[in-house]
Symmetry: C3
Subunit: 355 residues, 3 copies
C-alpha cells in the first residue's frame, strides 16, 4: 500500500459531476481533474459536459447561453452540440472540421449527473454506482449538499474509513467519548473494487436523536456500515434496532435508519468537490426530520473540511513523506489497497488508449 | 500567421506610458513589460521614466519625492536626474560611477506620455503615432480613461479588429441585432505597419445617439473605420452622414463623428493597460455631450475586459494550443500578420544591439 | 562582503521563537526558517517546539490540545512529549519507533523563548544573548511587540545599522532634519560575532521626549549605541546626559536612557518576525511613561516595515543584482562582514553534521 497522502487521478471512472438540481440555474462552471467544464442541459433536456473553452478565440463557453441549436459562445456566437461539434458559425456556411471542443460522456441517474473522465470507448454506464434511495422519496426522503475541500480527494476516503476521529474532530458535536469509538467491534474486508466495514455497538443506550427518531424505549443494537466503491464513492448506512430484534441477522426492520452517499470528485491535485446526501429511513412523513438531520450533519462535515485542509497544508510541505500506520487504520488500509489496484489498471488502460 | 493567442513583447516601439494628466498627482508607479517604473515630472517640467529601484539598497523610487535636484529616494536620500544619473548622495562628495539607475526615453506629445522600451539609439520620435485631435479641443472635445486588463495585449487588438463580437458581448448595450454586424460591408487591407478596415452600413436608420448627435431627419450612411498601427495602437473613426451627401466619397462633412484612440501597453505577459480616449466631432460646444458619450462607452469596454480576462484564463491552461480561424477573422488576421512582421524585425534589431 | 540583499539562513544559532507571554493563550503556531512549528507549554510548565505535523496522517498539531500526557493531536488522538516522542496511541499498546515528530531545543530566559534551529548536539545555551533588563522591571520597565515583515531578515539589520535613513523614512515622526543624522559623529568597529557603533551628538538641545523624560534644563550630550550580535539580534542603548556630566566617559548616570532589543527571526526566505522590546531607564515608577514610549516607537517601526517590504519587492525582481555602497554604509558593511563569517562557519558545521 502506498503510504503517500496524495493520490493521482483515476481517469477511467464515473464521477459525480453535479447534482441534477444544480442545472436548474442554467449553465454550470465546474473544474474536474484540472479541466474547466461547462455542464448544461440543452433545449431538448439532454445534459452535456464540454471543455469550457471555445475553439475560436479561447473564450469560456460558460459566458454563453443555451439556444435552440445548442450552446452558443458569448464572444462571436459559435454554437456547439453536446458531442462538442460546432453546428453554427454566424455569417459562414461551411464549418471546418477542426471547429469542435472536447466533450465528456454524461449520464443522468438517481438525481445525479455522472461524468466519465477517461477513454470514451470504455464509458460503460453499468459500472455507475446504483443509488436507488434518491428515487424512493417515500421511504428515503433526503437532502443534498456540496462544497469544495482544499485537499487531495483521498484524504476524505481516509477520513470516512477510520471513524476513531469522531471522538477528536467531532468531540463538540456528534463524537462523544473518544474511547467508545476506539473500542467498537469492527468487521472489515476487501470488496471487488473497494473496501467495507461495519462497526457494532450492542446493547447501547441510544443517543437523543436516535431515541426520538426510532421511538426506542430501551437499549439498542447500533451499527455503522461504510462501503468504499473506488475511486471516489463511499456508501454509508447507520442505524439502530431495539435489542432482541436480531439486528445482526436482519437490519431491514423498523428502527432508526440513516443512509448517506459521499463522493469526492477531484477538482485539482489538491482540491475536490465533496458531494453528500442524507436520507432518513424513519419519520419519513415529516419534512422537518429530514431538514433537522441535514442541519446536524452539515457542521460536522465542516469540521472534517477544516481538519482535511489543515492536513493538506502540512502534506504540501513534502508530499513524498511517508505516513505512519496505526492499528485504527485497518479499513483505511484496505481502501488504499483497493485504490492502488484501480490506479494500476487505469494506467494500463490509458497507456493502451494512447497507443 | 501565428495562431497562438499570446504574443511576445516588441521592444523597439513607442508605447503610451501614461496620459500626461496622470502626473498631476506627483510620481506615478507603473509597470511596463515587466519593468516597474517611476514616471514623473521634474522641477523644470521635464518628464522622466526610471526603473523603480534605487541602486543603493533597492528601495522603490516611487517612495521618494521631487526635489530641486531631481528625484530623491525616500530611504537614504540619493537623488537622480531624468537620465538615471545619481546627482547627490547625502554626506558624500564623490559619486561613484556605478550609482545610476536605468532610464527610458520619453516624449510628451498630444497630451500623451510616450515611452520607448528598446534600444535607446533607435528611439526615433518621428515614428510616434500622431494624434492631433487631442490638441484641437474646439473641434474634438474629448475624455480619457485607463484600466488594467488581465490578458495578453493582443487579445485587445483581436477584439477591435473583429466587430462581429458586438452582437454577443455588447448585446445588452450597443450591440443590437448580431446579424446586422455579421452582414455589414467590409473592406480591409494591410498597411505599412498594421492593418485597416472600414465597415459600411448604407441607408440605415440611425440609432438614438446618432440621431440626436447628428440632428438627422432621415436615414444615414454609417461607417466604422479601424486602423491598427502595430504593435499597440488602434485608431477608430465611426460616424454617419445623411444619405445623399456622398459619405463614401467624402466623410469630412457635418454629421455624426466619433474618434477613439485605443492603446494596449503590455504590463506583464498576461496583463496590459488599456488607454482609450473618446472625442466627439458633433455638438462640440456642449460638455455634457462629451461626458454622455464617455459614460456610454465605459461600460461597453468593461464588457470587453470581462470577456478578454475570461479568455486569457482559458488560454493560460495551454498557451501553445492553436486557435481555429473563421471568416469573420479577416481584418484580425491582417493585424496579426503585421505583428508577425514587427516581431521579426524587433528580434533582429535587439539581437544586433546585443552584439 | 556580499553585496546581495538577501542572505541565507544560519541554522546553528539561537533565535527568538516567541515572547514567553505569547504562550498564555495556549498553543502557538509559528513558522521559522520555512518550518511550521507548534510552540507550547506542557502540563508541567516546560516549553516545547515540535514540527507542526503529526506523523500519523499529517494533521497539524496546532489543531490539538495539551493533556496530562503531552500534546495530543486533534485528528486521531496521538500524544507527543517535548522531545517529539509519541507517548500514546488510542486503542493501541505498542508504539512503533517511527512514531515521532521533529523537536527543536528551546530555552526560556529573560521572558524570551529561544529556539535552536541547527544540529541539536551544538545547542549551547551559554551562547544565548543575555538580556537582563527584562528581569529587572524596577529599573527597566518595558513593553514588547512582534510583527511580521515581508522581507529577508537582513534588510532589518541593514536598516538599524545605517541611521541616516531616519531623516527620510521617519521625517514625519522621529527623524527631524536629515543632515543632523548624516553629520553625527560615528564610531564603529567589528566585534567577535557582529558589529558595533555609537553615534554622538554633543551639546544638542534635547528633543521634547528627552527633555520631559530626563528633566533636563539645558543642552545635553546624546548617543545612540547599536550592537549587532549575529545573525539575528541588535541591542540598542539610546540616551542623553546633561552637559558637563562626562557622558562620553561614563553613561551610567541619571539622565534619559532607552534600551531596545531588536530581533529578526527568519520565517521564510523573504519574510521574518520582528521582535522588539522597549525599556525606559527614566521615570520608572510611571507605567504611562512606558506605554507612551511604546506608542511613539510603534508607528516608526511600521514606517520601516513599509520601506523594507517595498525594498524586497524590488529585490525579488532580480535577487542577484549587486547593491551600490555609499559612505553611510560603514557600520552596515561591518555587520554584513560579520554575517559572511557566521554563514561560512555555519555551512561548515552543517556539512560536518551531515557526514
Amino acid at each position: 500500500m502506498s503510504r503517500k497522502a496524495n493520490q493521482p487521478f483515476v481517469r477511467n471512472a464515473w464521477y459525480i459531476a453535479a447534482w441534477a438540481e444544480e442545472l436548474d440555474n442554467g449553465l454550470l462552471a465546474r473544474t474536474i481533474m484540472n479541466q474547466p467544464m461547462v455542464i448544461y442541459r440543452n433545449a431538448e433536456g439532454k445534459v452535456g459536459a464540454l471543455e469550457d473553452r471555445c475553439c475560436h478565440r479561447g473564450a469560456p463557453l460558460t459566458h454563453g447561453h443555451i439556444s435552440e441549436m445548442g450552446l452558443q459562445c458569448g464572444y462571436h456566437g459559435l454554437t456547439f452540440d453536446t458531442e462538442g461539434k460546432c453546428v453554427d458559425i454566424p455569417g459562414q456556411k461551411n464549418i471546418p472540421p477542426q471547429a469542435h471542443v472536447q466533450a465528456f460522456p454524461m449520464v443522468e441517474r438517481n438525481e445525479i449527473l455522472w461524468i466519465w473522465m477517461g477513454d470514451p470507448a470504455l464509458a460503460d454506464d453499468t459500472k455507475i454506482v446504483d443509488y436507488p434511495y434518491h428515487d424512493d422519496k417515500e421511504n428515503w426522503p433526503h437532502r443534498k449538499a456540496m462544497f469544495q475541500i482544499k485537499s487531495n480527494y483521498m484524504l476524505m476516503i481516509d477520513n470516512l474509513m477510520d471513524l476513531t476521529h469522531l471522538g477528536y474532530v467531532h468531540n463538540k458535536t456528534i463524537g462523544g467519548n473518544p474511547l467508545n469509538h476506539v473500542g467498537a467491534e469492527m468487521n472489515s474486508r476487501q470488496t471487488e473494487n473497494g473496501a467495507y466495514f461495519v462497526r457494532w455497538m450492542l446493547n447501547h443506550e441510544p443517543p437523543p436523536t436516535y431515541k426520538t427518531g426510532g421511538q426506542f424505549t430501551g437499549n439498542v443494537d447500533r451499527w455503522q456500515e461504510f462501503e468504499y466503491v473506488g475511486p471516489s464513492v463511499v456508501l454509508q448506512w447507520s442505524g439502530a434496532l431495539e435489542m432482541g430484534m436480531g439486528a445482526k441477522e436482519n437490519r431491514d426492520q423498523k428502527g432508526f435508519h440513516l443512509r448517506l452517499l459521499h463522493a469526492a470528485t477531484p477538482e485539482t491535485d489538491t482540491t475536490f468537490h465533496y458531494f453528500w446526501s442524507t436520507a432518513n429511513g424513519y419519520r419519513q412523513d415529516d419534512p422537518e426530520t429530514t431538514q433537522e438531520m441535514y442541519e446536524q450533519i452539515y457542521p460536522t462535515f465542516i469540521e472534517d473540511k477544516v481538519i482535511m485542509e489543515a492536513q493538506q497544508d502540512r502534506i504540501n510541505l513534502n508530499p513524498d513523506r511517508d505516513l505512519v500506520e496505526i492499528h485504527a487504520d485497518g479499513a483505511l488500509a484496505l481502501a488504499r489497497l483497493a485504490l492502488d489496484k484501480i490506479i494500476a489498471e487505469d494506467r494500463e488502460q490509458m497507456a493502451q488508449a494512447a497507443e
